[in-house]
């Protein structure tokens, strides 16, 4: 499995959040999650401009094995979605931490990121 990038934060339900330089937060699912799901065949993305709260269901990822909800690690407004995943959902399998991102959020409270798991904590969580 791929190394977890240092500046990423996680929910225990396997979503990552990355604070970008422009202050926006990018969200995706971890490499561990894509590996557990197997071949991903459908991705359902949130609507642009929709509001989400931390922990809300914001997207759905479906693999040959199972469908699972993707929860938003932060609260705010969805300002962008990775619509290329609709035609190429396998991108999530190939590049979960980079090209396979799901959506970007304009966060309401940046301090919410502090509630999330660090790469070390998340990695320990995956080993449990």
């Amino acid at each position: 499995m791929k190394d977890i990038p240092e500046n990423y934060k996680f929910l225990s339900s396997h979503e990552w959040a990355k604070l970008e330089e422009d202050g926006k937060v990018t969200v995706g699912i971890s490499d561990y999650a894509q590996d557990q799901l197997g071949d991903i065949v459908f991705v359902e993305l949130p609507e642009i401009d929709s509001e989400v709260n931390q922990g809300d269901e914001a997207a759905v990822v479906e693999s040959v094995k199972a469908a699972s909800e993707v929860y938003s690690p932060v609260s705010g407004k969805v300002i962008d979605v990775n619509s290329s995943l609709e035609d190429s959902p396998e991108t999530v399998n190939l590049s979960a931490f980079e090209e396979g991102w799901f959506f970007k959020i304009e966060v309401t409270d940046i301090s919410e990121l502090e509630n999330l798991l660090s790469p070390e904590q998340y990695s320990e969580h995956c080993q449990d």
Partner: protein, 350 residues
């Protein structure tokens, strides 16, 4: 790896989707040694199977030919689905591993005073080689005589080569064979096939391949409460010989005459979601008339969500399902999506 009824089996060897596509375009090799092989010998073998099976083994004329059949209980429900092959002496049944114990005890309970010996061939492995290039691969693994013979065979025929039974059967909708072979020889065959370009295929792709081909899986499309009429298996029930009495015959005929049963159809969804087994299907906007999905998956060939479903007979072209709070629509057609690499599903009424 997963525990599949006591067998350690891989879901995939890397990517389920790639394995699926490889079988459709090239040649895949499957270790299906979990299947239970039973040899039925003795003076009364034929009589026994004519009573036991819904299909009639009397139609097997040549040695090593096979037929698909249901094993019915008295009420016409399906205890198992199997393939019966005629051997030089006696018959061979290949049954599911999940139903192994129940099948064997059912058969033993039906023996009565008949002269029958029933033996499980745990000394044999079973390997399937499937795909448009399967016969090319085989020609490199078997003697030229055997491969020339195999090319001439139509589906459900076979030959015996040095104790190895090779039959033109499979569970993918592609050309290919299934091979029942001594364990040591199986290893050699496996390695040879890989050298010839075949790739190993796991349980995951085995399931999506059979679903696209519209083939049933025991425990999903059928079980002991489901009649062959309800799972597209009526064609395997032979009523040709009116004198033949087989287990479940009366119940089957009665149900057929009343016409009151649901039927197995294929569903194709445009929405981006898989409608999996046990999911409810609705025939009307009011969601009052219901059916059920028996198996659902993502079809790598159609690149869409497909399902097999047991639904009330109708001339409707569409039906509905509810997924994550959203109503999705499916086209209804015959339960077959892909045959030999080509999409054959048609949205039609019956």
């Amino acid at each position: 790896m997963v525990d599949f009824h006591g067998w350690d089996m891989p879901i995939h060897y890397g990517s389920q989707l790639k394995e699926h596509e490889f079988v459709r375009n090239s040649c895949g090799i499957f270790d299906v040694s979990h299947m239970t092989i039973l040899d039925i010998k003795g003076k009364d073998a034929k009589e026994f199977l004519r009573k036991l099976l819904a299909n009639d083994v009397n139609a097997l004329e040549r040695d090593f030919d096979g037929m698909y059949s249901a094993l019915l209980n008295e009420t016409g429900g399906i205890l198992d689905d199997l393939i019966a092959y005629k051997l030089e002496s006696g018959y061979r049944l290949v049954v599911n591993c999940a139903t192994r114990e129940l099948d064997i005890s059912w058969m033993e309970s039906q023996l009565g005073n008949m002269d029958i010996s029933l033996s499980e061939r745990t000394d044999l492995s079973m390997i399937a080689i499937q795909g448009p290039l399967a016969l090319d691969t085989l020609s490199k693994c078997f003697s030229p005589d055997a491969s020339n013979e195999l090319i001439k065979r139509t589906p459900f025929q076979g030959l015996m080569e040095e104790g190895t039974l090779v039959t033109t059967t499979g569970y993918t909708g592609e050309k290919g064979v299934e091979v029942m072979i001594d364990h040591e020889k199986a290893k050699t065959l496996w390695e040879k096939a890989l050298v010839c370009g075949a790739k190993p295929i796991g349980l995951g792709a085995r399931d999506t391949l059979r679903l696209e081909a519209g083939m049933n899986l025991y425990g999903f499309e059928m079980d002991e409460k489901i009649s062959p009429l309800e799972c597209n298996m009526a064609w395997t029930v032979s009523l040709k010989d009116k004198e033949r009495d087989f287990i479940g015959k009366d119940s089957f005929k009665l149900k057929k005459e009343t016409g009151e049963y649901h039927v197995l159809k294929g569903l194709l969804f445009e929405d981006r979601c898989i409608v999996r087994s046990d999911h409810e299907i609705f025939m009307d906007e009011q969601k009052m008339i219901k059916g059920v999905v028996t198996s659902g998956t993502y079809s790598p060939t159609l690149k869409k969500s497909i399902a097999l479903a047991r639904i009330p007979p109708s001339n409707l072209k569409n039906c509905l399902a509810e997924v994550r709070g959203k109503t999705v629509r499916a086209s209804i057609g015959e339960p077959k999506f892909v045959k030999e690499g080509k999409i054959v599903f048609k949205n039609k009424t019956s």
